[in-house]
């Protein structure tokens, strides 16, 4: 990509903003975001990530995107994962290993049922939600 002008950057921002709001990654309707900071990785986030990929493969789902993010701040329940599915509230799951990952794909993504005992709360408001008007 060539260097951007001011106009190009602004256009990109608008375009990506709507994509990010819908969390629409290349037409996928569900997104699984794995917390992959040093802390998450040390607690086993890679195992969770592999668990998600394996489950998506096993159930032959083609509408699920798996991406990564940094630390969500919930160190005591690492690895943490956010699951975004159309028509459902966004949910943060904690203590996710490969087995829980499979359950999340089956129950949450496919049957729209949350997985008990692993739901946690996004712990903070940030400048984009709840504040900063």
């Amino acid at each position: 990509m060539a260097k951007m002008t001011l106009e190009a950057l602004r256009a990109l921002r608008e375009e990506k903003k709507s994509a990010l709001n819908k969390r629409d990654v290349e037409g996928k309707t569900a997104q699984i975001v794995v917390g992959m900071g040093t802390c998450g990785i040390a607690a086993g986030a890679k195992g969770a990530l592999d668990g998600f990929l394996a489950a998506i493969d096993e159930y032959k789902l083609d509408n699920v995107a798996v991406t990564q993010t940094g630390c969500m701040g919930l160190c005591y329940v690492e690895p943490t994962v956010e699951v975004i599915v159309e028509g459902m509230p966004n949910v943060i799951y904690g203590k996710v290993d490969a087995e829980v990952a499979k359950k999340i794909v089956k129950d949450h993504v496919m049957h729209k049922q949350m997985v008990s005992e692993h739901v946690f709360d996004r712990p903070a408001a940030d400048i984009f939600n709840g504040g900063g008007k």
């Binding site: 260097k3 951007m4 919930l74 459902m88 005992e117 400048i127």
Partner: protein, 595 residues
């Protein structure tokens, strides 16, 4: 089929013991009774951290946050909220509660936390510049380059009242202004990412989760102060943060957000990463600059300050990661918006790494003025394993302890210094009654002694002498005059040391001597460690009426110090015992105790 509502019932230990399980069961039966069972899923969650207000029930997608719910409230929650779609006002959390101390008037949130620095952490993909751009990324840079003069930027920071987050709390606008005012054709911008306090990982998480925010902020400083080159000094132990910074820099260069002629403005700026070998003293700004120059990481006397004469003798703006991460938000939303958050003396938020004997350890960001009690009990969920809170250590090896009596102090730079501790970079280690204050203090002092660069004698010799005295006390050889000696050496080190490391290294001792003198006296006079931690002062024993002679402890003992036949009372030989504590962990009958 998609469900209409999800009812989340907190399943943390605090809420469970307050009846969350009955609430959960009642909600299930009420939903069936009222005929909505097919439209609702009821889920048990992990701890919400709000244990003092528990049991907690949260209903999605409305995000209604109900507190102090009783089992008999289940009926009303279902009939009102689920069936009729009306919130049950009497159980809703009063959002104003969380803003009592923090004065965040125009922000609606039930959580005690508010994220400015960590706004993107755990939300965007840090390796994708587009996601950062979508969250108003590089919009502050745009505004600065095309709509603001350097003086406007400095003025905005002045209105905001941002102070350095590295520990000392120097007003950021003044630093920037000093550098801006010096006439020189070469100036530098430096990011201090040499985070080294034990138990602190705020900066690492910020860099790993949101690297572009640092690049954007440094570029803004370059434009403001007239620098075209920046350095990020980061320790080599942070490989993931380094990798993500490198990816981010590559993407920013590709988009033309770093390099020549940024966005066609004519202004050029680029950044280079310099790896540190992990010496704590290199977090001190003059030692850090020496290390970037390729010299040994040692501090030098100030003045001249780096803002005037820094890297290679040129004017240099140096801020730490958290300070940088605030900059784009301040310029985008305005200094006035920022100044409304926090206290009179300290504006904005502070990130803390909450660790130790806390139930919910984590990375938290709270408005300045939030109390320690709110952080430890409302966010952290209180002390683990039902133990008593003893003290919290803030400021790492440069700080001190804060006790129960001061839990309600609103946190800001001034209040923590007033209590004999300091803000530091944001490590917060919670201690319970099982932690020995003298032992913990020895740990922190040992860290400072190891990390002293040795250049000035107050730090090099004073630190070692203090450590030797503490060591003597924990071994039961302490004398009463040692306390006065420690106070005297500590005071001298504070006054005479060259840099922050030596000036603050006695703080853990001075602070604990002030608040926990009794515990020192127990070690010195009674030769006793009340917390049972100092090995030379304790002994393991077996209670005659509890021991059933199962031999479990004897089989585990690594030095065969436990004597006794099967089904007969066991005894620990004090001469052989190495006080490892394995017997205490092994015994199922509570027969082993520490004296």
């Amino acid at each position: 089929m998609a469900l209409r509502n999800y009812i989340l019932v907190c399943g943390g230990t605090g809420c469970e013991s307050a009846g969350a399980d009955s609430i959960y069961k009642n909600l299930i039966s009420e939903c069936e009774l009222q005929g909505v069972a097919d439209e609702v899923q009821i889920i048990k969650t992990g701890c919400f951290g709000f244990c003092e207000q528990g049991p907690i029930v949260k209903i999605l997608p409305e995000d209604s946050f109900y507190v102090q719910v009783k089992p008999e409230d289940a009926k009303e929650l279902v009939s009102e909220h689920i069936v009729k779609g009306r919130e049950v006002a009497r159980l809703l959390y009063n959002k104003n509660e969380s803003k009592k101390h923090a004065k965040v008037e125009d922000i609606e949130f039930y959580q005690k936390q508010f994220r400015i620095v960590l706004r993107n952490c755990g939300f965007i993909n840090p390796e994708n510049i587009d996601e950062y751009v979508a969250r108003e990324g590089y919009a502050a840079l745009e505004k600065v380059l095309f709509e603001m003069t350097p003086d406007d930027v400095i003025n905005e920071l002045k209105v905001a009242g941002l102070r350095g987050r590295g520990g000392a709390g120097f007003p950021s606008w003044m630093k920037w202004n000093f550098t801006k005012q010096v006439e020189d054709d070469v100036k530098y911008v430096v990011c201090n990412a040499d985070e080294g306090d034990p138990g602190a990982y705020m900066d690492r998480s910020t860099l790993e989760g949101d690297p572009h925010s640092i690049l954007e902020a440094m570029t803004i400083a370059g434009y403001t102060c007239g620098a075209s080159k920046g350095y990020i000094y980061i320790r080599a132990e942070y490989p993931l943060a380094i990798k993500r910074l490198e990816i981010a820099m590559g993407q920013a260069r590709e988009y033309g957000l770093l390099g020549e002629d940024i966005l066609g403005s004519g202004f050029g700026f680029d950044i280079e990463i310099r790896l540190g070998a992990g010496a704590f003293v290199c977090g001190e700004e003059t030692a850090l600059l020496a290390s970037i120059e390729g010299e040994r990481g040692m501090p030098r006397p100030r003045p001249p300050f780096p803002a005037v004469k820094g890297l290679w003798g040129r004017p240099t703006v140096i801020n730490n990661v958290e300070t940088w991460a605030n900059i784009p938000v301040i310029l985008l939303k305005g200094g006035e918006w920022f100044s409304k958050i926090g206290t009179d003396d300290s504006k904005g938020t502070k990130v803390f790494a909450l660790t130790g004997k806390i139930r919910n350890s984590g990375l938290v960001e709270v408005p300045m003025g939030t109390t320690l009690r709110e952080i430890i009990f409302d966010i952290g969920g209180g002390i683990a394993n039902g133990r008593e809170f003893k003290a919290v250590q803030t400021g790492g090896p440069s700080g001190g302890v804060i006790t129960k009596e001061h839990l309600d102090t609103p946190i800001d730079y001034g209040s923590l210094t007033g209590l004999g501790s300091m803000m530091g970079s944001g490590g917060m280690i919670v201690m319970d009654e099982d932690d020995c204050i003298v032992d913990v203090t020895k740990f922190y002092l040992g860290f400072s002694v190891d990390e002293s660069c040795g250049k000035c004698s107050p730090c090099r010799i004073g630190g070692r002498s203090l450590y030797n005295l503490l060591d003597k006390i924990t071994k039961g050889d302490g004398e009463m005059e040692d306390i006065d000696k420690m106070k005297e050496i500590g005071a001298a080190m504070k006054k005479a040391s060259l840099c922050g490391l030596g000036q603050t290294a006695p703080n853990p001792i001075l602070s604990t001597l002030h608040y926990f003198e009794k515990e020192y006296l127990a070690h010195i006079k009674d030769k006793r460690c009340p917390a049972g931690k100092c090995k030379e002062l304790i002994s393991y024993n077996i209670l005659a009426d509890k021991c059933i002679g199962c031999t479990a402890c004897a089989r585990k003992c690594p030095v065969d110090a436990i004597i006794g036949e099967r089904r007969q009372l066991h005894r620990i030989d004090p001469d052989l015992c190495i006080k490892c504590g394995v017997c205490l962990e092994t015994c199922k009958f509570g027969a082993v105790f520490v004296r």
